[in-house]
Amino acid sequence: MRLKYLLSTGLLLLSVAGADAYTVFVSNEKDNTVSVIDSETLTVTQTIKVGQRPRGIALARNGAWLLVCASDDNIVQVFDAKTLEFVKTLPSGPDPELFVLHPKGNPLYIANEDDNIVTVVDIEKGTVVTEIPVGVEPEGMGISPDGSVLVNTSETTNMAHFIDTASNKTIDNVLVDARPRYAEFTPDGAQVWVSSEIGGTVSVIDAKTRKVLGKVSFQIPGVNADAIQPVGVRIARDGKKAFVALGPANRVAVVDVASRKVERYLLVGQRVWQLDFTPDGKQLFTTNGTSNDVSIIDVEKLRVTKSVKVGRYPWGVVVAPF
């Protein structure tokens, strides 16, 4: 194991040579901090204090702003992504967990886990536009590439709620397996992939007909089925491969989008939660909650190249294009 690790670290040094350097932001749920990682040196360059229980993390204003859900403070905090200085707070509704920005850059759609609503926030004005009632414990948030359709998952209602962003009304509610955690559109906007943590599956939903086209299921030799709990999902920009974080199975599944078959399981840290690609799509960062680290996956070679120690219970991750 250790030998393999050392070897792969060596490979990493070769593979990143020449790659662009990006800044990786990781929210540490238990530390109330965000770790800042240089994607080239793969070292933590800075750790900033944020609000209580930071979870969802994203960029706005073309990467100029870093947004952090401070769940226990019931706010979203805005930081300057370059200077890391605090800019302002945004209203978020109670217990914000995950959010997604409209592709045009505004508004921000926030899942309020404790209040059965999605809050729509104008990030420039800092005002609440509206609240959309959804199922119990809203969590996952995905938006279509054209921004017309928002998908929210509700963990206890076990549904993916399709919301028309023009009217902010739900247009459909699709039943999926237990405890849906994340919604991700394919780059062409044709499908929505929804992970079900307790159900142990990813439902692939046709975005137009809202029918479940099929489900991705996972089997890992030597890992108890109960431990396979899909959470974060990211689909590569070319739309060919999906990466699914499998929680306490400590693996990221690589799934062929067309056939919905698992091609490989990549061993990462413990309780892998969320994922994000570097802007060039070459690296994938995973947050590993229980082992307090981030794993880096080489997307072309499908290898885990390194892990980087961050704060306690890393939760969300976003990579900035600088």
Binding site: D114, V136, N158, H161, I171, D172, Q229
Partner: protein, 426 residues
């Protein structure tokens, strides 16, 4: 077993029972409170054209029991009921998207006959799902009387092993854990800690003996050893008096003196008559576990893992108190019915009952993994929390205890050893 020997869950009803006993004749059918709750103040998005209603009946047996040692442990009047109400709200929150509405009716009585009459009346008016918070004798009486009818019963409170073993019934599912599951969960942790030598102190009530027996079985199963066993004679009477610690401080060290070398004191005192006196007072400085001290339980009000925080908050907002294990066990029963209605997209009894018994059924219960029913005796598989009064300490099954099909089946009686023969089920 007589009424006075009923299971531990029942003492939770005792404060309410005492008050009721004063106010009402013994055989009174107390209440038929409808609490069909609107799911959300806001209008449901895209409500389904036609709404179908599914009625669930909660039957609560009230029993007169002595008060607990600690003022903190006095059971609330709505214990269990509050869990049912939250589950109805949760079900309706999903149901509004599917044209399903869930309605709760409640019958409370100290009389088994009155409860049976209520159940039969409910059945006649289309209530096929009965959630039972009652002692094992009353439960069996209802299960046998309703045998062969379109009724599915959920045992949410009685931990008795016999209900899952020789006295199992095909029309009963169990959402609360059995004593063997609780004891196995504790044993795995104590063995993981290498605390293998146990000094067992048990009360004299029959449920204490049942708990002690579960501990003996668990010790044998997981490689621990009971090096000494003593029965504590807890005399009844008033435990509220001015003064008292002076005597207990003398009494407990003497009682625990001269035991063989042991790592931990395990206690079987379901009625909470003396167990809380043990910690910090034993002759040897040893931790206490079992019914007091480190306790195996289906729920803990401070659990925050696996998204439980929002669940706890929801409960607190609705009930104005924290969630107790019986609330959770009842919540699981009512949610299971809701989940089956969601998955089958039906409110018809045969559809839901069949789905609940099928291998497809699974439910999320804020314990980090899916919960499913054991086909051989209708017991819900579930992780068991190990907790001190303030915080969860661990969750069993513990790492390293393996099983060929589900590690959750390392808790409680497993399929090869079960004495349950379900008649006409599955």
């Amino acid at each position: 077993m007589g009424e006075c020997e009923a299971s531990r869950c029942l003492h939770r009803f005792r404060a309410r029972a005492r008050r009721l006993a004063r106010a009402l004749p013994t055989l009174a059918l107390v209440v038929l409170a409808s609490s069909s709750l609107p799911a959300h103040a806001q209008s449901a998005p895209q409500p389904a054209a036609e709404t179908k209603t599914l009625g669930i009946l909660l039957l609560r047996e009230t029993l007169d029991r002595p008060p607990p040692l600690s003022l903190l442990d006095i059971p609330p009047n709505d214990e269990g009921l509050a869990g049912a109400r939250l589950a109805i709200t949760d079900n309706n929150n999903t149901g509004r998207f599917l044209g399903q509405e869930f309605r709760l009716d409640v019958i409370e009585s100290a009389s088994a006959d009155a409860l049976l009459a209520g159940a039969e009346k409910g059945l006649a008016t289309g209530q096929h799902f009965l959630v039972l918070a009652m002692g094992p004798q009353t439960l069996l009486k209802l299960a046998d009387a309703l045998k062969g009818k379109d009724a599915l019963l959920f045992n949410a409170g009685a931990p008795d092993e016999t209900l899952r073993e020789e006295d199992c019934r095909a029309n009963v599912l169990h959402t609360g854990p059995s004593r063997a599951m609780l004891a196995d969960a504790l044993a795995q942790y104590l063995v993981w800690k290498q605390w293998r030598r146990w000094f067992l102190i048990r009360g004299q009530r029959s449920e204490d003996e049942a708990y002690a027996e579960a501990l003996r079985r668990a010790a044998k199963r997981f490689g621990a050893r009971i090096v000494e066993e003593r029965a504590f004679e807890a005399e009844g009477g008033s435990r509220r008096s001015d003064g008292g610690h002076e005597q207990i401080q003398q009494q407990i060290p003497l009682f625990t003196q001269n035991a063989p070398a042991h790592d931990v004191v395990v206690v079987a005192d379901e009625s909470e008559l003396f167990g809380e006196y043990l910690p910090y007072r034993t002759w040897e400085p040893r931790p206490v576990a079992g019914t007091q001290g480190l306790t195996p339980t289906s729920w803990h009000p401070a659990l925050e893992q696996w998204g439980a925080t929002q669940f706890q908050n929801r409960f607190r907002r609705a009930a104005n108190r924290t969630m107790r294990p019986l609330d959770y066990d009842v919540w699981l029963a009512v949610r299971s019915i809701g989940e089956a209605a969601t998955r089958t997209k039906s409110t018809a009894y045969p559809d839901i009952a069949a789905y609940l018994r099928s291998p497809e059924f699974e439910i999320a219960g804020f314990k980090g993994q899916k919960l499913t029913f054991r086909a051989w005796n209708g017991q819900l598989r579930q992780p068991i929390l190990l907790a001190t009064p303030k915080l969860p300490v661990s969750v069993s099954p513990q790492p390293g205890f393996l099983h060929q099909s589900s590690v959750l089946d390392t808790l409680g009686n497993d399929q090869p050893e079960t004495k349950c023969k379900l008649e006409g089920a599955r």
